[in-house]
Symmetry: C3
Subunit: 268 residues, 3 copies
Amino acid sequence: MFEEQFRSVKRKHPLIHSITNLVTINDVANMIIACGASPIMAIAPEEVQEITAIADGLNINIGTLQEKTVEAMLLSGFTANMKGIPVILDPVGVGASSFRKRTVHRLFQEIRFSAIKGNAAEIRCLLEESGEMKGVDGAEEGTMESFVSIAISLSKKTGSVVIMSGETDIVTDGSRTCMITNGHPMMKDVSGTGCMLSGMITSFCAADSHHLFEAACAAVMTMGIAGEKASEAMLPSMGNATYRTRIIDAVYTMKETDFKESVRYEMQ
Amino acid sequence: MFEEQFRSVKRKHPLIHSITNLVTINDVANMIIACGASPIMAIAPEEVQEITAIADGLNINIGTLQEKTVEAMLLSGFTANMKGIPVILDPVGVGASSFRKRTVHRLFQEIRFSAIKGNAAEIRCLLEESGEMKGVDGAEEGTMESFVSIAISLSKKTGSVVIMSGETDIVTDGSRTCMITNGHPMMKDVSGTGCMLSGMITSFCAADSHHLFEAACAAVMTMGIAGEKASEAMLPSMGNATYRTRIIDAVYTMKETDFKESVRYEMQ
Amino acid sequence: MFEEQFRSVKRKHPLIHSITNLVTINDVANMIIACGASPIMAIAPEEVQEITAIADGLNINIGTLQEKTVEAMLLSGFTANMKGIPVILDPVGVGASSFRKRTVHRLFQEIRFSAIKGNAAEIRCLLEESGEMKGVDGAEEGTMESFVSIAISLSKKTGSVVIMSGETDIVTDGSRTCMITNGHPMMKDVSGTGCMLSGMITSFCAADSHHLFEAACAAVMTMGIAGEKASEAMLPSMGNATYRTRIIDAVYTMKETDFKESVRYEMQ
């Protein structure tokens, strides 16, 4: 059922406004193009509302947060909610500073998010507003059941689709849960695969805003399959930089048949 | 006649100060190197005048505009004009917000631009100070004649060489017009090909500031030829990320003979 | 003796906080991953102290300096010094503006640096607080002896390990000096090889903070060897963009045996 969402992005070519972090901003732009959407970046409070007003989806990423950007996020989020377009949150490294926690707290007070994507530590932190993590990719110990339960809890608490990335990716809307096992271990060796995924989730949700759960699942599957395809025929001299290029390429060249044949998931 | 300009950048190795957008800043730097020039980036109002003072050309791009950067642009533009070095404007997505329109209006009041590069929508917006576009790559309907006429009008109004990018690129200084048909459709699937082109136009103009029209033409031709070369022998697994790398590579490795053999244009 | 440091990064996987320039921030992140460490970027004064507090090393690069970032650098540097983790300075283009000179002056007053990496012009500028350079890659004339003497003087003056990059890289702690001849001329055609090296020096120093001199040497050697490996089997169509990708790849895939076999240096 997810190939419909995969197809939809390429057909509708939604315009995605990203207020994203400065480390991976270029990869996010090229990934949004790769999956069939169109990127626009704007960060100044003076203009973000107008930019969001012409967009089909809003992608908020707190990776290199600055005071001004928080203001921009609030203004854009407000506009997106008024307009009824999907808003996605990537709470990068939220546990790492009180500034990030405070910011996310404020974003939650003023913006309704269609979807939230983070790793186990980030999702747990959002739920508990406490938590410890090592850097932005901080792994967390826990059983699969505990992860699913945390994701479902956050989804119920916020009304958002929650995507918890990990070896198995979990997507839930509180009632339905999808466990996706596509992906490749080397993806964690590329800076920004998480940010690229958020850009892609926003693109898919914008293209099919009436099926946010399915759209988020399809985006996560696409990213995972791309990670697998990109790892094929890697020569011994190729490392994380070539792999990065290949992941974006794999999304760009992915056909609906590739998607259908390669997808691996289980519904709960 | 344009191979002279192509050669000139590599011989003179001009230093280019870019105040550019944060999405594509790295690609702009590497493209400036690829064509034979040397990049320097500085954005703080506290220092941009000193940086422009040691540069041979100034590249202004409004892609991810911020309040502080506008100030920096005005200071650098003033210094560049006083010093008599070329200043190039890339009015990215100018139609998308009043902040961008206001900023460009102010830039025009205080800076004399050697060249302005935009797509049809952006150039039209500059001319009309009104206009609608979808995102930064917004296509516009119109006949070739109307495009040429708009470009010439803006050139006459501003005294700048105007470069209107599109399937056919138009370069005009108001009296002479050059239609360049090099290029490849996949270039629009790479974020920042326009920004890279602006960096290259600045490099070419800085290397031959007495022939701005010819320099701008040669830069546009170089970019178009690079897009063509980069598309050769693309494997089915290669997408927009590999293509991006190859475009920069193609500029880096381009010989004067390649340039002469591949260039396709018509003078009017 | 340097293979121990090479090994150490991969084993200890230190977390590196970079306050770096916006042109090359993505390459720095991927290079830090490539050598075995883990990157975290944060630039807001509101949070940098907390980020540094969880990090194992701090990388400060003044490439696209802004007022706010200077504040962040001072706060992070203070925290790093209190905590006793290595702090590395990359004084990119320090000679190019008085803002950069002033900033470096202030950084030196308030932060104790474990290591300082620059080209001849930058190191000389730090020493003399005067100097002329063309752009950030400004070459300087001078004999090898004069370079070594300048590096040693700065090291004695500051108590930092000094890395002077050039055709022959010089690393000194004031008493020992290592001349490293690994590297490739094409490295200067990639924007940000210097910034990537600084990220890598920070990673190596963080992994072995009791042997800063050896760690800095090993990082410089790794970068040089990567430049050599990356140049092998380059096709005529490949340019500086492919070469950039390959340098990061070469660090990612480098084995300890490659390192030992390829390293070329002389101790003084």
